[in-house]
């Protein structure tokens, strides 16, 4: 696959194997007849059927998705409007200050975010549960949305707006007809990132949840301590397949649309998440 270098290909293949072996391991043992992750004794689907009967886990999975969908949606809305606000902030000093605030949450370790949000909810007297988790997820997803949308605003052609105004468009029309369409790829990428952040989060949720509400990460954390249960393996397999098909689908749609350069919308543009 690499032009003229066997060692390079070998190295990449090794890294690939290393990165995937734990996942493969989980998947293989999800079909193990013996209930352990040590000896493979025979093929079975029973762990999948017991997963289907585990209503608690099912409810938690649905709740996790619900939080992710909703928090990403709200974070995208607030973040997009915020990005427009930053873009139009007149002085570059204000801009830099706003961006600085924006980036604090991005680089803060989860533990700090979790602890300080727990403090916040305690001081305000907010009940821990679905809403505290939802609010926290919205809060830590907003900055990534801003970072995904801003570059699109910068690429936008200002002349279009001037032209539209000359033709008598009001602000609402400008926003609706010109600004939003030209930053749509950024908004979508932002939503995608926010969704991923929410699904992946463990630490923050661990701090701010309560009253019986749990997400998958928190539930797996407590189950992983009770013992190896191949139900979790079965769950991993399903989650991996879902993630895999989403990413694969995304990639191929992208590829079809791709002209020459469209790297900005690539969801793997993770670097932005960490570049101040």
């Amino acid at each position: 696959m690499i032009k003229n270098n066997k060692w390079a290909s070998l190295y990449l293949i090794i890294v690939f194997i290393l990165l995937y072996s734990p996942i493969a391991y989980l998947i293989v043992y999800s079909f193990n007849e013996a209930g352990t992750m040590n000896q493979f004794s025979g093929f079975t689907l029973e762990h999948y059927s017991s997963l289907a009967e585990d209503t608690r886990l099912m409810i938690i999975a649905l709740d996790t998705i619900r939080v992710a969908l909703l928090s990403a949606l709200l974070a995208t809305t607030i973040g997009t409007l915020g990005a427009i606000g930053i873009y139009y902030a007149k002085r570059s000093k204000t801009q830099n200050m706003l961006l600085g605030f924006n980036n604090i949450l991005l680089v803060s370790p989860d533990v700090i975010i979790g602890a300080s949000f727990l403090l916040l909810f305690t001081v305000v007297g907010f009940r821990l549960g679905f809403y505290s988790v939802l609010l926290s997820h919205i809060a830590f997803s907003i900055p990534i949305v801003v970072l995904m949308v801003l570059p699109k605003l910068e690429e936008m052609n200002e002349n279009m707006i001037t032209a539209a105004k000359d033709l008598g468009a009001n602000n609402w029309q400008v926003l609706k007809e010109i600004i939003l369409p030209s930053i749509t790829p950024g908004i979508l990428a932002g939503y995608f990132m926010a969704f991923t952040y929410s699904i992946d989060d463990f630490a923050v949720t661990f701090f701010v949840t309560g009253n019986g509400f749990a997400t998958l990460s928190v539930e797996i954390y407590s189950r992983a301590r009770q013992g190896v249960s191949l139900e979790i393996n079965a769950l991993s397999t399903i989650l991996f397949l879902v993630a895999f098909s989403l990413v694969a689908g995304y990639y191929f749609i992208q590829r079809q649309q791709r002209t020459k350069r469209l790297t900005h919308m690539d969801p793997t543009n993770h670097e932005k998440a960490v570049t101040p």
Binding site: T55, L62, D63, G212, S222, G227
Partner: protein
């Protein structure tokens, strides 16, 4: 814009679908209902059949949430953002919660079956006259070990844990009071020592134990002992009972120097939302047959005297789980140390964790 609106609506629709999905599952399970009962309890600390039975008998829907340390439970209840109807903490924590008004005083006229409880477990120091709490289980802290893996060596005391051949083989319960307590008891001091010199000495003493500790964990101990990941563990009696059930080579002993005797009692937190259900649950658990079934399932010792009749004889006669009077005298109950000393214990425990 249109595209974005459509997408947003689609996402909202999916959200609603997810919500409907989980509600549907709850209903299909027959657990939906407006009368919810929030139980905050240790992990795997009630027979799930009993929860079902309780739901059937009373019509309440039980939401079971777990904690893995008294402190974690205290944090969530004290923080105030929770609405538990019942919690099952241990005695020293109950003492603290009573002091801080975090639990509701019980109306004894609404409780039936308290006479089933062995008087030895009533009216104890941490809650005189049981004004705030009703006994659930009791037990001890001790040493569980795997006979086959230790090859002839049988630990009998805390002191034995310091042996050099046990290097990197002990799974230790992750609790400040438990660990510092081992140091204190090895030296012959009280588990509730409020003497800084004694505490320092105990911590120094524990320096010798540190190399033998493989990990400081909690719930995991059970699984790792069953899987023979480690040969020896410091754990609670009921956990040990579970291990012995799954792995016949495991033995549980109470150390010679003495150990900790604890009581887990049911309390109604100040955040209670469904008091009616809380009393129904107390009365349900006081029933001798229910208590016996629970004890049989969990493996801890029941304070319910009348339940003994429903338990297998070998369980009741097992001295490691229902110790004789004489052994009981050797056991010590934790007292609430107060804020300052809780802090000191925690800092010393952190120091212990950092030793290796």
């Amino acid at each position: 814009m249109k595209k974005l609106t459509t997408l947003a609506l689609l996402i909202l629709a999916l959200t609603v679908a997810a919500l409907a999905g989980s509600r549907y599952i709850e209903r299909a399970q027959g657990t939906s209902g407006s009368d919810v009962f929030h139980l905050y309890n240790w992990g795997d600390y009630i027979d799930s059949d009993l929860i079902e039975q309780f739901e059937e008998e009373t019509g309440y829907r039980v939401v079971y949430e777990t904690f893995d340390s008294n402190e974690a439970m205290y944090t969530k209840i004290q923080q105030g953002g929770t609405g538990y109807d019942m919690a099952i903490p241990s005695e020293y924590m109950i003492e603290r919660m009573i002091e801080e008004d975090l639990v509701v005083e019980l109306d004894h006229s609404r409780i039936e079956g308290l006479e089933n409880i062995d008087p030895d477990f009533l009216d104890l120091n941490f809650d005189p006259l049981n004004r705030y709490s009703i006994p659930y289980f009791w037990g001890t802290l001790g040493i569980a070990y795997n006979e086959d893996m230790l090859e002839g060596f049988e630990p009998e005391s805390w002191e034995d844990l310091y042996r050099p051949e046990l290097e990197n083989s002990i799974l230790m319960i992750d609790g400040a009071r438990e660990v510092i307590g081992i140091g204190l008891q090895t030296l012959g001091y009280s588990l509730n020592s409020r003497n800084e010199a004694e505490l320092q000495e105990a911590t120094e003493q524990l320096r010798g134990l540190s190399p033998n500790i493989k990990a400081l964990v909690a719930d995991e101990i059970k699984m790792y002992m069953i899987q023979e990941e480690a040969s020896i563990a410091v754990t609670y009696s009921g956990e040990a009972a579970d291990m012995m059930w799954e792995n016949e080579s495991i033995v549980y002993i109470l150390p010679e120097e003495g150990s900790n005797l604890w009581f887990d009692n049911m309390v109604i937190p100040h955040t209670v939302q469904n008091e009616e259900a809380a009393y129904a649950f107390v009365n349900f658990m006081l029933d001798p047959e229910v208590a016996a079934q629970n004890a049989d399932y969990i493996g801890y010792s029941t304070p319910n005297e009348k339940a003994m009749a429903f338990l297998p004889e070998e369980t009741i006669e097992d001295e490691q789980f229902y110790p004789s009077e004489e052994m009981m005298d050797n056991l010590e109950v934790y007292e609430d140390l107060g804020l300052e000393y809780t802090g000191i214990y925690n800092d010393l425990f952190l120091e212990f964790k950092m030793m290796k």
